[in-house]
């Protein structure tokens, strides 16, 4: 009368394996990922006049302000023949992508407890959708960056020493690094905040502080020259290396080495895996502690 125990499709139990990722399940929910991205994109600028134009305005204005403050006022050099505005735009767009991934995913559990409390789907879909919808935004901003790039190269005599390197073919990998680095940290924070809310206070100003330590508005070489005793803080910040690499690929200026590239790769993979593990452990019971 009893059935064999072997043919169960799956089991719900309190046992937690360290890594319990069901990739086929995530794949089955890929449509949901797309629809979440679509929702984010559609709803973000509903009932605004400028709509998606805000994607352009944000980095442009920040770029102008940064150029005024840091280059014109504080006279930070961006290298001869590299227009400061272009230099800043490169840093800002990359930083924006990373920080929006981080802040967007860091409140995953809290912001979605309504849905998570009622329906099951692989929770990791939600932070992934944040990364993808931000990628779209980043794509548009990159387009703006390259438009200015072309303008400076062809219509102005300021960009005399700007040349894209052939390693630009690795740009997609670099973008992946930015997104997944932000996602990894975001997932760790979102998992911790389900129980201890302290971290939510940290995220807001922490991200802002981190920007100053990530060589967004200055070249790493200049920082090393001026503040050599604390330069390691900035130098081994993975985001610094990523931004310097981005500038190297696109503008041809940047301070990096093979060792640093390896270091970034390992750091990003480690943080992302750690985030994934913690996130997975949390998703089973977070609804009781959030």
């Amino acid at each position: 009368m009893n059935n064999k125990n072997s043919d169960w499709l799956y089991t719900i139990s309190p046992k937690k394996k360290l890594i319990d990722l069901n990739f086929s399940e995530i794949w089955r929910y890929r449509d949901l990922l797309l629809l979440f991205v679509k929702r984010d994109v559609i709803t973000q600028y509903k009932q605004t006049i400028l709509g998606p134009l805000w994607y352009f305005i944000q980095p442009l204005f920040t770029g102008v302000i940064f150029t005024l403050i840091f280059n014109n006022l504080a006279a930070i050099p961006t290298g001869s023949g590299v227009p400061p505005f272009l230099f800043n735009l490169a840093g800002i767009t990359s930083w924006n992508y990373f920080s929006s991934c981080l802040t967007g995913t860091s409140n995953t559990f809290k912001a979605n407890q309504g849905i998570f409390g009622k329906v099951y789907f692989p929770r990791v879909i939600t932070p992934l959708s944040v990364v993808f919808s931000n990628l779209l935004k980043y794509g548009i901003q990159l387009l703006v960056f390259f438009c200015f790039y072309l303008y400076f190269v062809f219509f102005s005599n300021k960009a005399t020493n700007v040349s894209p390197q052939f390693v630009i073919i690795f740009l997609p990998i670099l973008i992946l690094f930015m997104g997944f680095f932000g996602l990894g940290i975001g997932m760790i924070i979102s998992s911790m905040t389900t129980k201890y809310r302290d971290l939510t206070f940290l995220v807001g100003f922490g991200v802002q502080l981190l920007m100053y330590g990530s060589a967004v508005m200055y070249p790493l070489s200049y920082f090393k020259e001026k503040v050599p005793e604390y330069s390691w803080l900035v130098e081994y910040n993975p985001m610094t290396i990523i931004i310097e690499l981005f500038r190297h690929m696109t503008l041809g200026v940047g301070d990096f080495s093979i060792f640093k590239i390896l270091y970034v790769g390992v750091a990003v993979i480690l943080i992302f895996s750690l985030g994934l593990i913690i996130f997975n452990k949390t998703e089973k019971t977070f609804i009781d502690t959030v």
């Binding site: 499709l9 089991t11 719900i12 139990s13 309190p14 797309l34 329906v119 099951y120 129980k195 019971t285």
Partner: protein, 414 residues
């Protein structure tokens, strides 16, 4: 005997919750747990914990919302889960739908489980009805192509065709719910878990929803777990039921037996049988049934003790309800003896001759009218049980299962 095809097996499922504010003392408890864990011992807080009785004060900060629940569900079965508030129904559904994990125990399943703990999960007000159908469908586990193939049916079922390309925030709340339920109705998992979502929308839509649920379970042979307080709906839909009480299953069996068990259990705690309103200010001082036993077809003698000096009594009426809250009988002095009732004495008697009620529990609401104004209305002031009898005096005791009627009538055949 036919071999059982068990699709879902729940084994010794328990769920512990911490009471009070989560956050105070959690770090110390977490550290303590970790300390026990590295020494290879079990969780120290799992031993403590009371049963989940919300009315009495417990000794511990931890309670068991569920404790040792076991049951099996066969393929194609519609299992009703009934129980009072806080009996653990929702916790069980949450574990079944993987929203939260159990503390101990295991659930084994042979099919995909989709849960409907709420309709319209993830609806976004800024998006149109059509966009929300896709989003909500995907959240519930459908693929885009599945939704696309059913979208016309969904829109038709919802009855919101005109508004389908309007943002949902412009919808009335009823329309939102209709749209949301329509999406859920077209889910096609092997096992469907439903929490009281049928209690939405207007009467017409509710009827439609119950009909659809019946189609799903009977016509398409889907396995359904259904939680509800609506006994009529449970009776309609389910083939079997379990009763949850303080976190453990206290009864399991046929739907009718379960409902009977649940009601009679409820009655003992919340309403007194042969209750009397012993309040001096009340006009109706006491109401009781004089008969020792009420059987189908017997006379019921209801005796009222009234404080008639206080008012000019003109009318007493009572409604007799079954426990599905359906009014079965209406009895009023208005239609008796030209509306005239004796008021000289404090005692008023009403005899229902050859009562037409079938076996079961009933309750009585009473209204007292003075000069066309209702001066007193008592709800559930009397609960009584009707037992089976030889109603037709033919030597056969009524078989409730085969009759399933709400009322009986005398008749003749020529």
């Amino acid at each position: 005997m036919k071999k059982k095809d068990i699709i879902l097996k729940v084994e010794n499922i328990s769920k512990q919750y911490r009471l009070g504010l989560v956050g105070t003392g959690t770090i110390s408890h977490d550290l303590n747990r970790w300390w026990y864990k590295i020494r290879g011992k079990g969780d120290p807080y799992l031993k403590v914990g009371d049963t989940n009785d919300r009315t009495s004060k417990g000794d511990s900060d931890y309670v068991w919302a569920l404790k040792g629940v076991d049951f099996e569900v066969e393929r194609g079965e519609v299992l009703g889960i009934i129980g009072k508030n806080g009996a653990g129904k929702s916790t069980l559904l949450k574990i079944l739908s993987k929203v939260t994990g159990p503390t101990t125990g295991e659930i084994k399943t042979k099919g995909r489980i989709a849960s409907l703990l709420e309709v319209g999960t993830g609806f976004h007000g800024e998006m149109t009805g059509r966009e929300n159908i896709f989003l909500n469908g995907a959240i519930l586990g459908m693929t885009k192509s599945e939704i696309s193939s059913k979208i016309n049916e969904i829109i038709e079922f919802s009855g919101c065709e005109r508004y389908i390309d309007t943002p949902v925030k412009r919808y009335s709340s009823g329309m939102t719910v209709r749209l949301a339920f329509a999406v859920a109705a077209f889910l096609e998992p092997e096992i469907l878990v439903i929490d009281e979502v049928l209690a939405v929308g207007d009467a017409e839509f509710q009827k439609k929803a119950i009909g659809k649920m019946q189609d799903i379970s009977r016509g398409e042979g889907r396995t359904v777990l259904f939680v509800s307080h609506n006994m009529a709906a449970v009776k309609n839909l389910c083939t079997r039921a379990i009763v949850l009480e303080n976190g453990s299953s206290s009864f399991e069996g046929e739907v009718e037996e379960c409902i009977e068990y649940y009601i009679s259990n409820n009655k003992n705690k919340e309403t007194k049988l042969y209750y009397s309103a012993n309040n001096k200010d009340n006009i109706l001082q006491n109401i009781e049934i004089k008969n020792k036993l009420v059987a189908s077809g017997s006379n019921i003698n209801i005796c009222f003790n009234l404080n008639v000096k206080a008012i000019n009594l003109t009318n007493v009426h009572l409604g007799i309800y079954n426990f599905n809250d359906e009014k079965v009988l209406h009895i009023s002095s208005e239609y008796f003896n030209n509306g005239y009732i004796k008021t000289s004495s404090d005692v008023l008697n009403c005899v229902i001759e050859r009562n037409p009620l079938t076996q079961g529990l009933y309750y009585v609401n009473v209204g007292v009218v003075s000069n066309k104004v209702e001066v007193e209305r008592l709800k559930k002031c009397l609960v009584f049980e009707v037992v089976n009898s030889d109603f037709f005096n033919c030597g056969i005791i009524l078989k409730p299962a085969s009759i399933k009627a709400k009322a009986l009538a005398e008749y003749k055949w020529y």
